[in-house]
Symmetry: none
Subunit: 206 residues, 4 copies
Amino acid sequence: MTDTIAELELGKREKTKVANRLSILAAARKVFAELGYEGATVRDIIRGTDLASGTFYNYFKSKEEVFDALADDGARRFRPILRMARQNARSFEDYLHSAFVAYFHFIIQDNLLEGRPINERRPHVTRMDTPEMSAVYQEVRQSLEDAIAHGDAPRVDADYLACACIGIAQEVGSAMLRRSPPDTDAAADFATGLILKGLAGAARQA
Amino acid sequence: MTDTIAELELGKREKTKVANRLSILAAARKVFAELGYEGATVRDIIRGTDLASGTFYNYFKSKEEVFDALADDGARRFRPILRMARQNARSFEDYLHSAFVAYFHFIIQDNLLEGRPINERRPHVTRMDTPEMSAVYQEVRQSLEDAIAHGDAPRVDADYLACACIGIAQEVGSAMLRRSPPDTDAAADFATGLILKGLAGAARQA
Amino acid sequence: MTDTIAELELGKREKTKVANRLSILAAARKVFAELGYEGATVRDIIRGTDLASGTFYNYFKSKEEVFDALADDGARRFRPILRMARQNARSFEDYLHSAFVAYFHFIIQDNLLEGRPINERRPHVTRMDTPEMSAVYQEVRQSLEDAIAHGDAPRVDADYLACACIGIAQEVGSAMLRRSPPDTDAAADFATGLILKGLAGAARQA
Amino acid sequence: MTDTIAELELGKREKTKVANRLSILAAARKVFAELGYEGATVRDIIRGTDLASGTFYNYFKSKEEVFDALADDGARRFRPILRMARQNARSFEDYLHSAFVAYFHFIIQDNLLEGRPINERRPHVTRMDTPEMSAVYQEVRQSLEDAIAHGDAPRVDADYLACACIGIAQEVGSAMLRRSPPDTDAAADFATGLILKGLAGAARQA
DNA sequence: CATGAATGAGCCTTCATTCAT
DNA sequence: TATGAATGAAGGCTCATTCAT
């Protein structure tokens, strides 16, 4: 009988486990965003859940491990979006635009999830090399090399360009978040235009 | 005679004080770069000097104060360079190029000063909103608005563009540091070209 | 059944918590008595227990908080005794005597609890304004004003007299502790006699 | 010639030395009064002078040594006063009264010297066993034993009585300082009356 | 598994004291 | 002697992590 009960409850337990894990990840995302990796403490993360401190260690071995899990999660969520954008794109421009839109949506989501005022100022802002960014880098770079190979883009330094895309995405993304309401399309237009045609292109949508 | 010399030279004490201050600042620069603001501890900084722990507090009241001193220092060194670039520039393109060159030189200097392998991998890279960056933002923005007003540049969103410049500077700068030898001119050509003409411009120098 | 017992008894954890709290309070009492408030350090207190340094902060936020807890504790234990003495007293003399006896017992208890040689010499003795003393002051003063109002005592300066009582209690109390064995009754006789009849009264019991 | 100058300036130097010593003692008195022995730091004392921190150690080996010097000083200033009071006294009552007046004047002086509001509240008031108090104790005790020997006072417990005098002096003294203006005569009347005749005696002067 | 108190390493900071100038 | 920067021990406190319940 005990076994039966145990079996019946196993499902519940599993669900709790998953829920706890998600709860920790959600809290960690918020905390890392607010305090940065170094500034965040495991206690901060736990405080963001309704779990006890010890429970954290049933799910993650350390702060680093949650961070990595979070990063993997980010990449796992974001990379397919990017990839799909690449597959569906009818042109390099189209691809770039979709990618920016996707990224800008993504950061808006993350900011909203955290439920904190988008414009809040923190003492020492640090920007982390998130896995999303790595994904962007690799996707953009790949896509760019393809475009160059197909003659759809001039022969630029793909590394530099991918980096520039990341920089633009991050900074213009931040600037966009500071506006209300944030307009992902406009921001993506700007970014795409800038990259493709430079100032003239960036001015297009104005 | 002793007096005369004393007037001309700094006393030994004064010299030590200046040297200690610089020693702390240098160590702090390195530590902040390696560990980020939150990750850095005053002890880390002290460990980077040959001073005793208490000595730190003869020079700075707290970690924050060294950080600010460092930041002020950066801005104080960098802003005039930018400003001069603006005044001496014969065109907006010329200005942009000088600014990028200046910034890229600047980060090379800072990296060399630290004496650490330029390519070193760190666990959780964070990029801080340094005052140099604020300076870049404001200078670029101002310069851009002037250029627009004079008809030298199309009517772009000056905020977004300044942000994009910062993003490009940071990321392309990082990428440049990863190459050996870093070529500031090439990187500046790339950035300037990208901003002014987009992909086509960026490809020019390739 | 287990439940019933659990309800009746404290769990092991609860017991440990209570014991630790008491352990800290006991150690703190001793340390404050030996070193004074300023001289005492949290580490001193911890050293007086078998706990780790961090554990202290699971119970008290700071040195001040233990001190206050100790003080509250003292007042909570002592004030009711005083009040009862007042209610049960058949005369002002009776009240005074009971109060002194109570106080003298109280300090003997505290000294014994600390387990330190009653006569020990300390470098810089300090006497703190404990809440017990505040309680004495207020009780004595109230009682005295009642006595005056009822014609049981002459019209003295109630503030000065209450202060004098405290001073006598403290100093005669200390002197009593220096004797072995301490005789609370004799000390109380002395104090009561002195206050009621002056020298002649104080000499009565000799 | 150098010698001559050195000799001439010796006087000045000596004067400076004395002045520095006094300056430190004065600052220390204030600091100890404000912060208590343990709470006071050498830095606090130095800050109260216009000397450099190192100079302190040309005059005193440690905080303890200043404290002792201060204590000696207090005793040296106060004991002769008490002794004179004893010699000039026409009766035990007269002596007691003079002694209390002297003590009350003394603490008013010390409070005024410190230039701090007499009524100021400190977080954890501690009362130190000052040497003045030791002097009072010994003087009172001696005087009392004389009085008993001469049949001028009943056979009381001289130790307890001396202690009681100290307690009364301290507490009534404090209470007196809290009033404005402090009336040393009234306070001394109260104390003397209390000690000699108890309540009735204390009420006399009301 | 969940809990949360215990642990102790380590951080920031202050301070008494020394010592080169 | 006076100076005041340097020193490092020590204090208050936090935190990641463990472990008995």
